[in-house]
């Protein structure tokens, strides 16, 4: 029996990558425990079979030694990414490299690494970057809108005081003539500054693209990000997704941004406090003519002092918080003709509820 020497056996057993040895015709001669785990075959189910049983695709492959030699050369040295086929029919991304073993006729040893996890984290990373980009844009927009409002108020006061002064002077017979001119120029400059702010506001309102959206898919797409956020804060979480939900018209990425923001607020709210059973629940359901996505936590909840200003720009209870997260979220949800509300949870915690109208053609 080949590969029965204890040295070789322990080499195969210890390898983390799947190790498959082929004879010169491509038949499987050895199949390491890692290979058995990866492909889902017991060793004796594949020994003697052609290695193409481990590859997807049903196009005929040349099975002669020369084709094998050619294929091996492509995989030698650096290896490359390809797809593997499991016993149960599922296909997975893999990285494979092959070496020719000494001796004649030649034998080949293939090392195969599962890339499924890496692909997932790559996809999550891409999603995260896209969301961060959106968040930065929306945050800048919210900040500009907030600053615009805060500055427009004193400018309005200046303009109105100056205009009131001008009118009061108009009624005075021996008023110094220059003073009315000065007041009118103050008014004109305040109005000019307000116009600049108005243009700024128009400039930063975020563009939005609407498409028919399955809310549960939208949630599941950010499932990986939710999981890692929860793990990082040692909080457990559950998804309670309603079944057969109608679609909504939405900007998917914007709503994912809102959801992640609410989720992140929830997991952060626990802080270092000793809350038993720290848990966040993301729930989706139909509520009449609307769809509801709620994020519920059993943390300390929102303080009574914070409640009236919860959605205002620049108001925050977190050290280092910008106070823009909930303001941005509410702006996005309102732009979808929806509402974002806070409800205290019992006995403790907070519930943030997004309600969105169903798509017009939804049943």
């Amino acid at each position: 029996v080949p590969y029965s020497s204890p040295e070789l056996r322990s080499l195969l057993d210890a390898a983390i990558d799947a190790v498959v040895v082929l004879d010169c015709n491509g038949r499987i001669e050895a199949f390491s425990p890692a290979a058995q785990g990866l492909f889902g075959y017991a060793s004796d189910e594949v020994l003697g079979r052609h290695f193409t049983v481990l590859l997807p695709g049903d196009r005929p492959r040349r099975r002669d030694a020369r084709a094998l030699e050619h294929g091996v050369r492509r995989l030698m040295a650096r290896g490359r990414e390809l797809e593997g086929l499991r016993h149960d029919g599922t296909v997975f991304p893999a990285f494979a490299s092959v070496a020719r073993m000494a001796g004649a006729p030649p034998r080949y040893v293939a090392f195969i690494r599962d890339l499924t996890e890496r692909r997932h984290s790559q996809r999550n990373q891409e999603l995260l970057e896209r969301l961060m980009r959106m968040t930065r844009l929306a945050t800048v927009g919210e900040m500009a809108a907030g600053v615009a409002h805060e500055l427009n108020q004193p400018l309005t006061a200046i303009a109105n005081y100056a205009q009131a002064g001008d009118r009061l002077l108009a009624a005075v017979a021996d008023a110094p003539p220059d003073v009315r001119g000065v007041l009118q120029r103050i008014t004109a400059q305040a109005v000019r500054a307000a116009d600049v702010i108005q243009r700024l506001r128009a400039l930063v309102s975020p563009p939005s693209s609407r498409e028919l959206t399955d809310v549960n898919l939208l949630i599941e797409e950010v499932g990986g990000l939710i999981r890692s956020d929860a793990q990082a804060h040692q909080v457990s979480y559950r998804l309670e997704l309603g079944r057969d939900l109608p679609t909504i018209e939405a900007d998917r990425v914007q709503l994912q941004q809102v959801l992640l923001n609410l989720f992140h607020n929830a997991v952060e709210s626990f802080g270092n406090g000793a809350f038993t059973g720290r848990e966040v629940v993301v729930h989706s359901a139909r509520a009449g003519s609307e769809l509801e996505i709620c994020v519920t936590d059993n943390g300390p909840g929102v303080s009574a002092a914070m409640v009236p200003r919860l959605f205002h720009p620049f108001s925050t209870s977190k050290t280092g918080g910008t106070g823009l997260g909930l303001a941005v979220s509410q702006t996005i949800v309102r732009a979808h003709q929806g509402s974002l509300t806070h409800i205290p949870n019992r006995p403790t915690g907070a519930i943030f509820c997004i309600r969105l109208p169903l798509a017009s053609n939804a049943p």
Binding site: N152, L155, T156, I158, A159, N160, Y161, A164, Q198, P308
Partner: protein, 122 residues
């Protein structure tokens, strides 16, 4: 002789409220001020208000439009001027009606007072 109109000014920013009050008084109006919807409802309930001038965005979850709707529900027909820093957003919510006008912030005194006169004379 035209009677002095009594204006209810609803504005939560103290400086804007004070400056607008002075502008209205310089324009020949009597002015009562309220900082929010509740205070406004209390004053309007006492009667004698000819028109309400309100910021479109009020503190809390009540917009100027909602507050005016409530005032009209309680006190009958009431003329109103909404003043907003973001006219495009406000215009979407504002239903067309002959007793309401929308002006952008800051207002031009001439325009403000003439719109108010027209509304009152209507």
């Amino acid at each position: 002789v035209r009677p002095v109109p009594h204006i209810l000014l609803v504005e939560d920013d103290p400086a804007v409220s004070d400056a607008t009050r002075m502008l209205l008084m310089a324009g020949g109006c009597r002015v009562s001020t309220a900082a929010g919807a509740h205070e406004a409802e209390r004053i309007a309930a006492a009667g004698g208000i000819d028109a309400v001038v309100t910021d479109y965005l009020l503190e809390g979850d009540c917009s100027g439009v909602q507050m005016v709707d409530r005032l009209r529900h309680r006190c009958g027909a009431l003329k109103a001027i909404m003043i907003t820093g973001d006219p495009s957003a406000a215009a979407r919510e504002l239903r067309r009606d002959q007793h309401t006008r929308l002006l952008s912030k800051p207002v031009r005194a001439e325009e403000f007072l003439s719109v108010l006169r027209e509304l009152l004379d209507d």
